[in-house]
């Protein structure tokens, strides 16, 4: 025993009096394990926390073994289940039976995300941002569940050495239609900022890129987009820019009128009236409610023909028709409206979806 530094001094003179040793706290019973886990509900309890609470600083291997045996017993009895965490330090989360993330619930959340306005094609990386917390622990299982139930479909692309699996709702399988709609929405959102083809391509997934050219042409033909040229590069794609026609009409005035057909068409498809509808819409500063009278005047088709097309479009959900509003309208506008049985007033305006 080495000489104490304080030797020669009597106890209490300069030396600190030793504090009385605190009695050690009794170890918590392992019977508290299940209530502890149940108490945490859907949040779960990590193994590191369990050890902290039930074993505390004890390094006793017997105690640790006892705890692990208890956990095994509860797992075998299906009183608890576990998931590995994805934290930097690996750990295990335990949940009471019936608690914790549910594959069905997360699968339903994925299905709902796939159908949200603006969602087209997405990858698991997109989902990882959307699905948060403990639900992320079962993301892969939930995706498989959603694929199995048919809520989503998948396709895989390869770019170099990278394989990516893309997911989408069945009704939103990439097509010219879906890509056209996406481009139109981006153009509207961009306002007066012109979008190049390269910029549009960057916004699309690999699954959608093949449809880009056709989608742009579709939007140009339907007079949703206006194509502008700027620059002298030999690559034509590099000098073309796109602007939404509604923005152009609102911010830069009306555009050149659509050339009228030389003869009155004998038949009329819904797509035929779209350019006229869009022009009328842009002339009224982007307000989407257009009078049937105005359509009739521009298209120069028989009233019955236009009405048939509009009624069919309304039934298909491609358009909606509406009665007169609080505005007093001229008789000719009322006469051009659609009269349907069971409705006392004519439908005099249309909104194309």
């Amino acid at each position: 025993m080495s000489a104490s530094k304080n030797s020669g001094r009597s106890p209490g003179q300069g030396a600190r009096a030793a504090s009385p040793r605190k009695p050690s706290r009794p170890q918590p019973s392992l019977e508290q394990l299940l209530p502890l886990i149940e108490n945490k509900g859907d949040a779960g309890l990590a193994l590191s926390k369990i050890k902290q609470q039930l074993i505390s600083r004890s390094q006793d291997p017997a105690r640790t073994a006892e705890l692990e045996a208890k956990l095994d017993a509860l797992l075998r009895a299906r009183a608890i289940h576990w998931l590995p965490t994805q934290a930097k330090k690996p750990d295990t989360l335990y949940f009471a039976a019936g608690r914790g993330p549910s594959v069905e619930k997360v699968g339903a959340a994925i299905a709902a995300f796939a159908r949200e306005p603006g969602t087209t094609v997405f990858s698991s990386a997109h989902l990882a941002k959307k699905i948060t917390g403990n639900d992320q622990l079962i993301l892969d299982q939930a995706i498989k569940h959603a694929l199995k139930t048919g809520d989503i479909l998948s396709e895989t692309t390869e770019k170099g050495k990278t394989r990516t699996t893309w997911y989408f709702a069945p009704e939103r399988r990439p097509s010219v239609g879906t890509v056209s709609a996406a481009i139109a929405a981006w153009a509207l959102q961009a306002g007066t900022t012109l979008l190049s083809k390269a910029a549009l391509k960057k916004k699309l997934t690999e699954l959608e890129v093949p449809f880009l050219d056709a989608a742009i042409q579709h939007n140009l033909k339907a007079q949703v987009l206006e194509e502008l040229t700027c620059g002298t590069a030999k690559n034509q794609d590099a000098i073309k820019y796109y602007l939404h026609r509604d923005i152009a009409a609102r911010d830069f005035g009306t555009l050149a009128p659509t050339p009228r057909p030389a003869q009155r068409p004998k038949d009329l498809a819904f797509e035929d009236l779209l350019p006229v509808y869009r022009r009328l819409k842009s002339e009224q500063r982007g307000l989407s409610t257009v009078k049937i009278f105005d359509l009739l005047k521009e298209l120069q088709v028989p009233k019955d023909l236009l009405h048939r097309v509009l009624i069919a479009a309304a039934r298909e959900g491609r358009a909606t028709i509406h009665h007169s509003t609080s505005a007093e309208l001229p008789q000719e506008v009322m006469d051009a409206g659609i009269r349907l049985e069971g409705f006392s007033e004519p439908f005099i305006t249309v909104v194309v979806k």
Partner: protein, 646 residues
């Protein structure tokens, strides 16, 4: 007896929302995207914690519906509910005087601020104005203390600042400590050094209150530290409403003479300009509290008068350009907006309005949910609820198109209910019944019974237009802004809710001028007063008395409306608005004609009232200035209703 016939009231008859606070039903999922968009756009105003630098306004958000009954007011109601305490929400009914548009908006804003937060089954003693005042002043005091400390209390500054910021985060009627510091701040505003500190702190936050910083502090302190009916608080409200202050009011608020910037006899344009300044001040100070949400609804009513549309456009432009910390929303029926409002606006004003945010209709699944909800609320058994949808009537209805307006769905469901209940078809309510319903609704909320110059102007203009032979004219006069004019008679109307002697002297003098300028005609001049206003004239108005007496001798009369008359006028205006918006099954012109006939006895009484000069010669009686209900007499000159307008 079927389960349906036992239900006394058709559960689908309630299909219209009049104002955002009246939302009584919900359609799950309807227009969620639109609501989300508006909430997101509002979010940029309070993305930073208060106190924040003023946030510039976005373009006015235009929410359109393709037809009546698609849920514009319902959407506003949901927006109000979603934003909750994040915003001071001001529902703006159309103003009637294009030269005092800002005054109307300011009065509606103050009226909203004087309400407690939220619906009141629980009594909430704090008005929104008091909460705003406490929050603004507590945060401002915290800023001043942080910058300058407290003499002799350096060690406790941090604790005091913490206390003040905590009080500002959840403003309640201030406790003793907060009361003390707000009081110190208000007193400090009168001192040179401390006053300069206050101005400096406000400017540091980007708030320029046009040299009125100290006045704002004192006015808000009057609200923060006193009950709403306390004389100081009432004086402060007058200042906020851009009304002229009496000397007593100036003394109560400890204002400087220059801060009492509303002259008693200032013209309408000046009142309007000062009202804009007040509104700007409130919105700037919202940097210390919470942003405003201004909602222009019932926009069909502006279309009656091109001057109103131009004024609306000016307001939209100024709100965008000059007024921070607010989001403006305009709701409109699409065709009305594009045919009758837009053509009368200038391009710069139109540019301050966003692209339309269209409202969607109800799809079949949501319609089913809506109808089921209403049936379940009637305690119908599930089997009866299912029976409601038998026969495929809903499929037939949605065979026409995949979405319908919410009101159309409810009306169709009402018809179905009628068929199942096998009750005799109830004829649509008469205009009399609809009117009485509105009167009952008006009687409940206290604020609807109060003075509202727009409602009175509407009454004089729209209801008065039914008088045979009368030309309804807007004048350039300062006070008597509307007239009923016949070749032989002129009836002028002023709209004054204040009680400043000098203003009433000016009103009296103007009525005398009108009378002298129209010497060849019988001239009457009216000013309406409502029961909530102070009684005028006061006995203490010695300086104004000669002018008031002279004016009374030449036809000036103060008409004290009874509570019933005020409610009738509000109800009539609401009914007319409902007709214009197609919320009822009567055309607007028929509704107006009915209202004109309903009010004809009162109109005739106003128009035919005997002039003082027509009294018996030699009578010692002075003509009464104030005319209440009991003093009305039947008069000899009949003026009938204009048959053409019927």
């Amino acid at each position: 007896m079927s389960a349906y016939s036992s239900i006394p009231v058709n559960p689908f008859d309630d299909n219209a929302v009049k104002t955002p606070r009246d939302v009584s039903f919900s359609v799950p999922g309807l227009n969620d995207d639109t609501l989300k968009t508006l909430v997101e756009r509002f979010g940029r105003l309070d993305s930073q914690r208060a106190p924040r630098k003023p946030v510039g306004a976005l373009t006015a958000q235009l929410v359109t519906s393709p037809d009546a009954g698609y849920g514009k007011s319902h959407l506003l109601g949901r927006l109000f509910s979603t934003l909750g305490k994040r915003a001071t929400k001001v529902f703006l009914r159309p103003f009637e005087d294009p030269y005092k548009a800002w005054h109307s908006i300011l009065l509606l804003t103050i009226s909203e601020l004087e309400r407690p937060e939220g619906p009141v089954p629980l009594y909430t003693p704090t008005t929104q104005l008091q909460a705003m005042a406490v929050a603004v002043l507590a945060r401002l005091a915290a800023d001043v203390i942080t910058a300058d400390g407290i003499p002799g209390r350096a060690e406790s500054c941090d604790a005091i600042v913490l206390l003040l910021r905590k009080a500002a985060a959840d403003p309640q009627p201030p406790n003793a400590q907060i009361h003390h510091w707000i009081d110190c701040l208000a007193k400090g505003a009168s001192e040179t050094y401390r006053g300069a500190q206050i101005v400096q702190q406000l400017r540091a936050r980007g708030l320029d209150l046009g040299g009125r910083e100290k006045a704002w502090v004192k006015v808000l302190a009057a609200h923060a530290l006193n009950e709403p009916q306390h004389p100081r608080a009432l004086a402060a409200t007058k200042w906020l409403r851009a009304e002229p202050l009496e000397l007593d009011d100036i003394a109560l608020l400890d204002l400087e003479a220059a801060d009492s910037d509303v002259k008693a006899d200032c013209p309408a344009q000046e009142v309007n300009a000062l009202s804009l300044e007040r509104l700007l001040g409130l919105c700037l100070l919202a940097s210390y509290y919470r942003p405003f949400l201004f909602c222009f609804d019932q926009t069909e009513l502006y279309a009656r008068d091109p001057a109103l549309v131009i004024a609306l456009g000016n307001c939209i432009e100024r709100l965008y350009a000059d007024i921070p910390n607010q989001l403006t929303i305009i709701t409109a029926n699409s065709v009305n907006w594009q045919d009758r409002i837009l053509p009368r606006m200038d391009q710069p004003q139109i540019d301050r309005i966003s692209a339309e945010i269209p409202l969607m209709g109800v799809q079949k699944d949501s319609a089913r949910e809506l109808i089921t909800g209403r049936l379940k609320a009637c305690a119908l058994a599930p089997a009866d609820v299912e029976r409601f949808f038998a026969d495929g009537w809903l499929d037939t209805f949605y065979n026409i198109q995949r979405e319908h307006g919410a009101r159309a769905v409810l009306k169709r469901a009402a018809t179905r209910f009628q068929e199942l209940a096998k009750k005799p078809i109830v004829p649509r309510p008469t205009l009399e019944e609809l009117f009485q319903r509105e009167v009952k609704l008006v009687h409940s909320p206290e604020e609807r019974q109060s003075y509202n110059q727009d409602a009175l102007m509407w009454f004089v203009r729209e209801i008065g237009s039914g008088l045979a032979g009368a030309s309804i004219e807007r004048t350039q006069a300062r006070y008597f802004s509307l007239q009923w004019s016949w070749p032989e008679r002129l009836v002028s109307f002023a709209f004054e809710g204040g009680a400043h002697w000098n203003r009433w002297r000016a009103i009296a003098r103007e009525s005398l001028d009108i009378s002298h300028q129209n010497a060849g005609r019988a001239c009457l001049a009216y000013v309406f007063r409502t029961p909530d206003l102070e009684v005028v004239p006061r006995k203490s108005w010695k300086e104004a008395k000669p002018d008031l007496d002279a004016a009374a001798a030449h036809g000036l009369q103060i008409v004290e409306l009874t509570l019933e008359q005020v409610c009738d006028i509000h109800a009539a205006r609401q009914l007319h608005s409902d007709a214009l918006e197609r919320n009822i099954d009567y055309p607007a012109d028929q509704t107006l004609a009915w209202l004109q006939a309903h009010f004809l006895p009162f109109l005739k009484e106003l128009a035919e009232r005997q002039l003082p000069a027509e009294r018996r010669a030699g009578s010692e009686d002075h003509p009464p200035l104030i005319v209440g209900n009991r003093q009305r007499r039947q008069l000899p000159l009949p003026i009938g209703l204009d048959a053409k307008s019927l």
